[in-house]
């Protein structure tokens, strides 16, 4: 009898269980499960988004690093190229300058030589003329002295020669 009573559903409790359970279900769905589930979903979405954004940022950084590396290599190559070019240009310029200087020097030396030659010739001519005049003078004086004293004439010649040597 007692056992039968516990396995026999009572109408009253069944009725209240139905009413209260359905009301609870409705209220919880509206005020608890709805907000909780949507908040959970939102947070999970935001976490997923954040993770994918982080992945994307990492990929971007890697890409950027690769680009930087490439740029660096390129810059290095450019620098090397420019240095080499500059070196080459400098060498060429030096070579050119040297050649020019040599030519100019040769030209100047040649010009100097010509000028020296000309001066030398002029000087020789002058010396020649002077010597001629001097010889004539000496000859004239010797001739005049010889007429008076031969020793004295000799002395005079020597004296003149000495004078010439001094000049």
């Amino acid at each position: 009898m007692a056992l039968l009573s516990i396995i026999t559903p009572e109408l009253g409790l069944f009725f209240w269980q139905t009413v209260i359970f359905l009301v609870t279900l409705f209220l919880l769905s509206k005020f608890a499960w709805g907000p909780i589930m949507s908040a959970l979903r939102e947070r999970e979405d935001s976490i997923t988004d954040a993770l994918s954004a982080a992945d994307k940022a990492r990929a971007d950084i890697e890409k950027l690093q690769a680009t930087n590396e490439a740029l660096l290599v390129e810059a290095r190559a450019e620098r090397d190229r420019i240095l080499a070019e500059a070196q080459k240009a400098a060498t060429t310029m030096l070579e050119d300058a040297r050649a020019k200087a040599t030519t100019e020097g040769n030209r100047l030396i040649e010009a100097a030589r010509i000028s020296i030659q000309t001066e030398k010739n002029a000087a020789l001519n002058e010396v020649k003329n002077y010597t001629a005049t001097l010889a004539l003078d000496i000859a004239e004086k010797i001739l005049r002295k010889e007429l008076s004293n031969s020793d004295e004439q000799r002395n005079l010649v020597n004296e003149y020669i000495k004078e010439v040597n001094l000049n």
């Binding site: 007692a2 516990i6 026999t8 559903p9 009572e10 919880l28 005020f31 499960w33 959970l40």
Partner: protein, 356 residues
Amino acid sequence: MATKINKLLLILLMSMASIVCFAINPNDQIIEEETGQAQTLFNPGEMIMHHISDSHEWHFFNTETFHATIPLPIIVYSAERGGLSVFLSSKFDHGDTYKGYGILHEHIFAVNAEGVEDKTIAVYDFSITKNVTSLIFSAALLIFVFTSVAKGYVKNKGKAPTGVQSFFEPIVSYVRDEIAIKMIGPKYERFMPFLLTVFFFIWFNNLLGLLPGGANLTGNIAVTLMLAIIVFIMTLINSNGYYWKHILWTPGVPLPLRIIIMPIEVIGMITKPFSLMIRLFANITAGHIIILSFIGLIFLFKNIYIAPLSVGFGLFMTFLELFVALIQAFVFTLLAAMYFGSAVEEHAHDDHDHGH
């Protein structure tokens, strides 16, 4: 360590309190001995039945002079007794009859002028019994707890959960990820409110039932029957053509077998929720009976030395029941989700087993 000992002491204290609560029964037979002294004869079967059954009053304990009992509202309907009557159960104290109604062993009946039960008059009992009171309390508790949790999500929008919110969040996530999504599949969302409600309803009431003096709500067949009926109705409402085809004309099976399988499948539609009803009822009721039996031993033997053994076993069973409270909530929710899953499953592969 210290908190562990404190908790243990608390449990022990509660077990002791439950001894007091469960021990003495108002229906104990009183026999007049030759000496004229009244002596109660302990009847463990009756004590256990009293504790697992519903009651029209909330009884805690009795002493010689004092009955710690909360009277509960009686709501009865009978056309012959002038329709609906509402009064407190205390009107029935001392075996009284009231407004033409009487009560015996928690059964309300109409009485005739001589005060004898009149079986010709139909009486419908909608009383706020102990179980209904507990039901209202648990519903209020559920609504309070989970609206607080929901408020936490508004307050900590996009932030980590705090307080009670962080306690329930993994459980809610578990019900969603491990029960609903795994068993139902992509259409899980429309079942989430029911699955969460039923899970926490069963769990909370299982735990409340373990409290000393608590009502055995989830161990009552009317409650589990109603939950099973809802699962059955929700399965039918959400069932698709593939579900019915599978039941009535199982694909991929030879023709003679189909004719045999059809009635089996149709019966299976009923037995699935029926098993839900019996499983929850039997598990919870059995747990209560075992704990009460251990405690009853003390009073049966009238020997204090049996108490440590009884308390020890009772303690062990109480811990087991705490675990069972969760397991049964989980199992009920899981199986309900499985039945919903079979109802909404799309025709994908013929050879797929539907979990039966």
